[in-house]
């Protein structure tokens, strides 16, 4: 199924939110596997999402982990609402 960049970003945010345990964040391997996205695209997207304040980067001993911010949760809520609006017109966001 075709996914545009907005949809991919929403998918990554959803995975970051749902796979996070005890705010320890999510590792890049989980994001790659569940997000079905290449490493290069994911790295670029994570950089954009971090800069935009939608996710937070946590530095740990072995690489970085990511957790969703309150802005990210708000964005997902709005995305879900307007995705429903678009679907009502038979469209996708």
């Amino acid at each position: 199924m075709y996914r545009n960049s907005l949809r991919i970003a929403a998918d990554i945010l959803t995975i970051t939110r749902d796979s996070d345990t005890e705010s320890g964040g999510v590792g890049i391997t989980v994001l790659l596997r569940k997000g079905n996205i290449s490493y290069k695209s994911l790295s670029r997207l994570l950089k954009d999402l971090t800069t935009g304040g939608l996710i937070e980067e946590i530095e740990v001993k072995r690489g970085n982990r990511y957790r969703i911010s309150s802005n990210g949760r708000e964005f997902l809520q709005e995305y879900s609402k307007f995705q429903e609006l678009a679907q009502t017109f038979g469209l996708n966001l």
């Binding site: 907005l6 709005e78 995305y79 609006l85 679907q87 009502t88 038979g90 996708n92 966001l93």
Partner: protein, 214 residues
């Protein structure tokens, strides 16, 4: 046109109602675009803002023709043409959203030969615009109807029904344009348009409520 002033006033009022409905949907879509940055919502906002302005201009023309508001240095025929042009652009954006979404440009290309033969018969520009709007609406209605099988939402069916009613309204309006003494057909086209827009509004009205409760 040979319609009485009272009929034109009714059309003006109904046009304003349709315009307000278009403005509401356009506003929700624009809010969605601001929140998510989705180009789909921007196209929807464009579509409904064009329709809002088109209907408003058409209503001004009708009120002016009835003598309720004065016109300065601009003729009613120009206003009618302008409104027809704006409405056609609005319907184009609605159909265009589906073309981009399903990437079915081949299906959209099928519309072109359908438009040309009908337009050869049409001598007036507003009738030409009306016939283009008819095909754009028909296409939008078909695509939305097909989307129902993917999303399974009753609201999607309502949108499809609304677009179908708008298409029929354009067709009836086009027929009444050819037979200008038929006031009933003319009024029917306006009523169908308002019912069609109400159907669109019904399917998105819950988003207003949701916005307030979140």
């Amino acid at each position: 046109m040979s319609f009485g002033p009272s009929l034109l006033v009714v059309e003006g009022i109904l046009g304003l109602i349709g315009g307000l409905i278009g403005l509401s949907i356009g506003y929700f879509s624009l809010t969605g675009y601001r929140e998510t940055g989705s180009p789909t919502l921007l196209r929807l906002a464009f579509a409904f803002f064009f329709l809002f302005v088109g209907f408003t201009v058409e209503s001004i023309a009708n009120f002016s023709y009835s003598g309720y508001i004065p016109l300065f240095a601009i003729s009613i025929s120009i206003l009618i043409l302008l409104s027809g042009f704006l409405e056609t652009i609005g319907y184009f954006f609605l159909a265009f959203s589906h073309v981009i979404d399903v990437r079915s440009s081949k299906r959209f290309a099928l519309l072109i030969p359908l438009i040309i033969p009908l337009n050869i018969q049409a001598l007036q520009m507003s009738a030409i615009l009306g016939s283009i709007s008819f095909y754009l609406l028909l296409y939008g209605s078909l695509e939305t109807g097909l989307s129902y099988f993917r999303v399974r939402k009753v609201e999607t069916l309502l949108i499809s029904l609304g677009l179908s009613l708008l298409a029929i309204s354009e067709f009836v309006g086009w027929v009444s344009y050819l037979n200008i003494s038929d006031a009933f057909m003319y009024l029917l086209s306006i009523l169908l348009r308002v019912v069609g827009f109400s159907s669109l509004l019904l399917s998105v009205i819950k988003f207003v409520w949701k916005k307030e409760t979140i």
